[in-house]
């Protein structure tokens, strides 16, 4: 009798996926109405920092009504993100992390909410390590600044075409990040042209892990994700036959005799495009908003655009591009006076943890000269998961944009109130803010 091979999970129908997303969203509203601060955070209440305070008031680590362990404690958050006993996947599980066909009314599982059809956000530890080793010599923490000049050149091209009145996301952050990404990776023209729309459609990827998007948004997101992978696979194929400028060729050249799979380079490019760009676009927009709200800091940067990297770091702390980090315990974990069994869902409230007074002096102040010890990285982009992998490139891209903005748009001012995307409790993604050059 032939052994049945395990087929990949069938793609859910619209009704199956829609019902799942609807149910999880219903949970957020139901437990939000009962006052659970984590559920209120997920439903997307505007005052996220007060909710972080409420979480901190409940103790270093507590179990939300949704069953998720939640912390806003700076020390515990940093340890959780650094602990190999926590990871993006359920222990001993295989394949994409999806719960669509499970009955949420029975399982109460509110992690891995939206299936991506692939393991992009939830790689196994070995895959993460392999990607980190690949990225290290090219787009790693110590090597990535080599691409700063390429990034800046692309950003300046976007600023050249900026109208007197413009939107911080659609006219500045997204085109600048798309342009610098294409320049750094060395993408062909076809991919460059499609990138801004694809980035917008892929935007909810990070949010969708904890907060269900609307069904059409989820479908558009997975379609865009597939298209990004096609484009990156085509770019890698081009670089394989004809090595050229750009990080893709450089990645392909890493240890060429070590039998590396070019698929890893494709994945690295997809991650930079999907996870990296959303993070970078948000950081740029958050930084511009923060600077415009803090005139003395904006003056400091205008006087010395070389401090753009400081502005990026402080934005990553004060208005992080990822405000909730979702983890699963891989074994029993003892922390914060609690014993967590294996396979428990843990969420770190990064925005609150990065304003923990126990960790930061005067945490609510936005200041470019905040002291940092060497090697320190903010929790928003810490860890071995995809966010940690793309962090160096995100920093380079954001620094390039802020530097160029400080040099070329000294009279920048806001013309209205910022609007954030709906169903975006993780990223709190900026949707729009009208700005004027003078």
């Amino acid at each position: 009798m032939p052994t049945p091979t395990s087929a990949p999970p069938a793609a859910p129908t619209d009704s199956e996926l829609g019902r799942h997303l609807l149910t999880v969203r219903g949970f957020h509203f139901v437990f939000g109405a009962l006052g659970d601060p984590y559920a209120r955070r997920l439903r997307g209440e505007a005052d996220h920092l007060s909710l972080g305070e409420l979480v901190r008031d409940r103790g270093p680590l507590h179990r939300s009504a949704l069953g998720t362990w939640v912390t806003a404690d700076g020390g515990i958050s940093a340890r959780l993100l650094d602990d190999p006993l926590l990871g993006p996947r359920h222990p001993a599980s295989e394949g994409p992390q999806e719960h669509v066909l499970e009955n949420v009314w029975e399982t109460w599982r509110t992690c891995h909410v939206t299936p991506l059809g692939e393991d992009l956000l939830t790689p196994a530890a070995a895959d993460s390590d392999r990607l980190a080793a690949l990225l290290g010599p090219v787009l790693g923490p110590r090597t990535c600044t080599a691409w700063q000049v390429d990034a800046e050149r692309a950003v300046h091209r976007v600023l050249d075409g900026l109208p007197p009145h413009f939107d911080v996301v659609s006219d500045l952050a997204r085109p600048a990040i798309a342009g610098s990404l294409a320049a750094v990776l060395g993408l062909p023209d076809e991919a460059r042209a499609e990138l801004p729309d694809l980035l917008a459609a892929c935007g909810p990827v990070l949010d969708s892990a904890l907060c269900p998007p609307r069904l059409p948004v989820a479908r558009a997101m997975t379609r865009a994700l597939r298209r990004v992978r096609e484009l990156m696979a085509a770019a890698v194929a081009n670089h394989l036959t004809a090595p050229a400028d750009g990080a893709v060729s450089a990645l392909l050249a890493v240890d060429p005799d070590g039998g590396r799979d070019p698929g890893d380079t494709v994945t690295a490019a997809v991650l930079s495009t999907v996870v990296g760009a959303e993070t970078a676009i948000t950081t740029v927009a958050n930084a511009v908003m923060a600077l415009l709200e803090h005139d003395e800091q904006w003056s400091l940067l205008r006087a010395d655009p070389g401090r753009a990297a400081d502005a990026v770091e402080e934005t990553l702390r004060w208005a992080p591009p990822v405000t909730l980090r979702s983890l699963i315990t891989q074994g029993e974990v003892q922390i914060g006076g609690e014993t967590l069994e294996a396979d428990q869902h843990v969420v770190v409230l990064v925005d609150a943890a990065q304003r923990d007074p126990a960790l930061y002096e005067d945490p609510d102040r936005f200041r470019l000269d905040r002291p940092r010890s060497p090697g320190f990285t903010h929790m928003a982009l810490a860890g071995r998961d995809p966010l940690g992998l793309v962090a160096p490139l995100v920093r380079v891209q954001c620094t390039a944009v802020l530097r160029a903005v400080a040099e070329r748009l000294p009279g920048l001012r806001a013309e209205g109130e910022p609007l954030r995307r709906g169903r975006s409790p993780v990223v709190r993604a900026p949707l729009s803010l009208r700005l004027a050059q003078k």
């Binding site: 009704s15 829609g18 609807l22 969203r25 219903g26 437990f31 006052g35 609307r214 949707l431």
Partner: protein, 431 residues
């Protein structure tokens, strides 16, 4: 014509569609009543023809888990107070999201919708009449091109709030619009090759059984219909004691069938309540479920406890009724001109109870918190019995109801509307 009537499987919601189904049948039309299998017995015991569709819904389980949150949201920004300005985007989005997830999409489970569509595609109804939360009927009508009418059992709070939500959403940037109900109906209709249209929420028209003074003004097409009581599959039997003159006012104390089966209730415990009410100079008739009867203390001679009773049988002999505010109990008492003390806890119950008080036909005693102690119930009841104005107020509502055409008299209107709204033969998505 062929009329498909549907209500999700919950007796209180089904009872409200029965008299019109009878009227259509008596007028010579073909009537089928579709619902989950759990309702089949209730349908056939009402003398109607059942079409069991899909598997049973699990709303008791889901609402069991979700009810505290649902009630926590809805108690405070109280749209029942006729102040739509309290209904902001945040509240409406939350309300629609949780109710669609925990209620609408649960009572209209996928298999029930799919089999109802299959049945309609085969039977070809001219008209689908649906209970206002049974969107499966709307989907079946939309897919097959039948005309569709909502049949209300209470004031149309749902559509009022929905309209307000649409108005608020209209002012929001397209990317921020978040309407869980429309989204769910959209993918549900697409599963059957049909597109969403506003009529799957509002019907082509609405049949409203509330008296005019308890109805919301609306520009939408509405067919007023007199409420005719149908109490569900309890034997409607006139007990001999009913004819004996009690020599003092008779008072009925009752919980609704939904409250009795779900445990969501605002009423104090039966024993305490009965002992307190029995202090009044009245004959107290109380419906108490069997398991609660065992725990009752010895009761005074002026209390008569029965397991169940048809309301339309006993209410005409009553001087007052104490109840939880449910649609069927409220309307049956109103039709018989009986003053009411309504301990209404939630939703439309609260609105109807408030209107009752405004119209001078009874008292609304909110049971939340300490509001409805046994002593307060007794004191309010004494007031209702003592002041003749309550009976006069109740008589005015009764007169309004009697002036409204009975189900049999609205059938010709439904025939005309059906002819106007039914898609020409062969133009439904499935034919």
């Amino acid at each position: 014509m062929k009329v498909l009537v549907t209500a999700f499987a919950m007796d209180a919601h089904f009872n409200g569609v029965v008299p019109l189904a009878w009227a259509l049948r008596a007028a010579g039309h073909d009537v089928r009543v579709a619902s989950q299998p759990a309702l089949t017995d209730s349908i056939t015991r009402a003398g109607l023809t059942a079409v069991p569709v899909g598997t049973d819904h699990q709303v008791q389980a889901t609402m069991g888990a979700m009810a505290p949150g649902v009630f926590a949201l809805h108690r405070n920004p109280d749209y029942l107070e006729n102040r739509p300005e309290l209904l902001d985007l945040e509240f409406l989005e939350a309300s629609t999201s949780m109710l669609t997830a925990a209620f609408y999409a649960q009572i209209n489970n996928d298999s029930m919708i799919d089999e109802m569509v299959d049945f309609a595609a085969w039977w070809r109804p001219d008209l689908v009449v649906w209970e206002p939360f049974t969107f499966a009927g709307a989907v079946a009508a939309q897919v097959t091109g039948a005309a569709q009418a909502r049949l209300l059992w209470g004031p149309d709070l749902f559509l009022r709030v929905h309209d307000r939500f649409q108005q608020v959403l209209h002012e929001v940037r397209a990317e921020r619009r978040d309407d869980a109900l429309e989204e769910w109906l959209t993918w549900t209709l697409e599963r059957h090759g049909a597109a969403f249209g506003p009529e799957v929420i509002s019907g082509h028209w609405t049949i409203d059984q509330m008296p005019p003074s308890v109805r919301f003004a609306t520009a939408r097409p509405t067919v007023p219909m007199r409420f005719v009581p149908y109490n569900g599959p309890v034997p409607a039997v006139v007990p001999p004691w009913l004819r004996a003159d009690p020599g003092r006012p008779r008072v009925l104390l009752t919980q609704g069938i939904t409250e009795r089966s779900t445990g969501f209730t605002g009423l104090p415990r039966a024993g305490e309540l009965l002992a307190s009410i029995a202090e009044l100079d009245a004959e107290v008739v109380a419906t108490v479920k069997a398991e609660e009867r065992e725990g009752l203390p010895p009761l005074p001679g002026n209390v008569r406890v029965v397991d169940s009773l048809s309301l339309h049988v006993v209410l005409p002999s009553c001087a007052a009724v104490v109840h939880h505010g449910g649609a069927g109990t409220w309307a049956t008492a109103a039709l018989h001109g009986v003053p009411q003390l309504a301990l209404a806890w939630q939703w439309d119950d609260v609105f109807r109870a408030g209107q009752l008080e405004k119209l001078g036909a009874g008292i609304f005693l909110p049971p939340h918190g300490e509001g409805a102690s046994a002593g307060r119930v007794r004191d309010r009841l004494a007031q209702v019995l003592a002041e003749p104005s309550f009976r006069q107020g109740a008589a005015r509502i009764r007169a309004e109801m009697l002036r409204t055409p009975a189900p049999g008299a609205v059938v010709p209107t439904l025939e005309q509307l059906t002819a106007r709204h039914r898609a020409p033969a062969g133009q439904g998505v499935r034919h």
